[in-house]
Assembly symmetry: C2
């Protein structure tokens, strides 16, 4: 038997602040792993899904994000070979931490590696986004782009896919508080407004642009106020009991800003330094607890790199 190619992809914060479907950020630490090996027959088979929330992840290769992404890679390469996959979930599904995107990104990168092909980041992200789409029903690349590339990534265009890699700001860290009750991305997308008042469009464009200026210049002072979102957050907040108290707790603890991570229910905050992020994360978990919501806290730097091959 060929050896397994093992790839890790990190958690990601999608919809970073105001940047709905536009900005994603990778977080260092926990993530998903996908192991891939080539086999004779065409197509992709998912042998196993293990780890956090694995019971809810489909083995059906047309619905599993890792295998859909891997199949897209096979298609792009035009390979006559097939792939077998194992998926090790480190990120809870429905948490807003880019769990499906991490599997999809690791799936795409593992497939390309197992097949011995080097693909440009845009192609890997496009393949991973097909996987993401299988899970969410929608086409958005902010999580997959950050999971593949690392750092903060701007999806400047979805069709054709055009990415601007913005990297990280040294010292910048993130605090996360993840309620133990998951929220499906599909549900969270269904409450979004069909139309947005023009004043709110201007607000969100300006704040998204500010966020990009902060990262492009590596200037954390530009982050203050930059996470304020008037498009997705007000619509989704009611789905996350305690959200506003948790956000307020993060800001009171000194965070530069806070919002929902991806489709929620995780709330994230940006902080200078991991110890500030630890304080914010503790305050956020406590605020969730006061609202009767059990949650898990985490503090970590942003991840400068994305999906990486663990071996061989």
């Amino acid at each position: 038997m060929r050896p397994w190619t093992r790839v890790h992809a990190p958690a990601t914060i999608g919809n970073l602040g105001p940047g709905f479907d536009t900005l994603g950020a990778a977080v260092r630490g926990a993530g998903d792993e996908v192991h891939a090996r080539t086999v004779g027959p065409r197509g992709v088979r998912v042998l196993q899904v293990l780890g956090v929330g694995a019971a809810g992840i489909p083995l059906d290769p047309t619905r599993n994000t890792a295998s859909v992404a891997a199949a897209a890679v096979l298609e792009v390469i035009g390979s006559p070979r097939g792939l077998e996959l194992r998926v090790l979930k480190g990120l809870p599904p429905g948490s807003g931490l880019g769990s499906s995107a991490a599997s999809a990104a690791a799936g795409a990168v593992a497939a390309a590696r197992a097949l011995g092909e080097r693909l440009p980041a845009e192609v890997l992200v496009a393949c991973a986004t097909r996987g993401e789409q299988a899970a969410s029903g929608a086409w958005f690349a902010d999580n997959t782009a950050a999971a593949v590339c690392g750092g903060v990534v701007l999806v400047a265009s979805h069709e054709p896919l055009r990415l601007v890699r913005l990297g990280v700001i040294p010292g910048l860290a993130v605090a996360l508080a993840t309620p133990r009750t998951p929220l499906e991305t599909r549900t969270s997308r269904s409450v979004l407004p069909a139309e947005v008042p023009l004043a709110d469009v201007v607000h969100n464009m300006a704040r998204t642009a500010q966020l990009v200026a902060a990262f492009a210049r590596r200037d954390p002072r530009l982050l203050r106020g930059a996470l304020e979102d008037r498009v997705a957050e007000p619509a989704r907040a009611p789905l996350v009991p305690g959200f506003y108290q948790v956000k307020e707790a993060a800001l009171s603890s000194g965070a530069l800003g806070a919002s929902l991570s991806g489709a929620g229910p995780t709330v994230f905050a940006l902080c200078m330094g991991v110890s500030a992020a630890r304080r914010a994360a503790g305050a956020m978990r406590a605020a969730f607890a006061l609202a009767g919501v059990e949650s898990d806290e985490r503090a970590a730097p942003l991840a400068a790199s994305g999906a990486r091959v663990l071996g061989p």
Copy 2:
């Protein structure tokens, strides 16, 4: 009599591409001049308005953009003195070249200088924006910010006013074609959509962010596709006969992108190098002519600096 303090402020492109009310850019060359001198009695008087389109500019100090801006400076400083102003219009009103903003910016800067006060850029822009508001009826700072600061400026927040100065990309030039029939900013704002479909919000956020990344990194390659606007341009294009042909002419001539300048009817294009901008401007004027619209063309670099004191 005290000598006149003379200040020049440049033309500006407001609503830069997708950045409605968010991004402005200053253009080197023609602009407006405001001359100011202190007088005994409180308040601001406008003695004269000379130059392009002067006949249409009110002398009434509560409606003249330069004097409203100057009065705001007096108020900020808390000065017991008064000011007399002369306004020399170099920019045609209603052209989309930031004519009212140039007068307002020059008025604010001239007032502060005549009074011997150094004010932060944000304060000068806020004062100039009061002047702009007197002309347009709305509160937006993209033109005034660029006219005061120069380069490309992001209005990250209007309330409180927060600016990010993005400077210029060396070598980047702009082509302008200005129809001889003016378009009132009030009219051009009245056709804007009250609400914007979510997909177009994402589009405009992403392109505005791309534009900011291009300037923050001084990378002209990031400009391609970044000017595509789905919010204001589609609504305003019908007010500018020949707009789409003129835009197409600019792109065909090799411009990196093109859109309406401010509220129109001027069409601008971004180009690498002034000679490319000259080609684009010629193609744009010819396209306007084919649509039966007489226009004036211009090619110039972006202006790295904004309002400047000519003396004393």
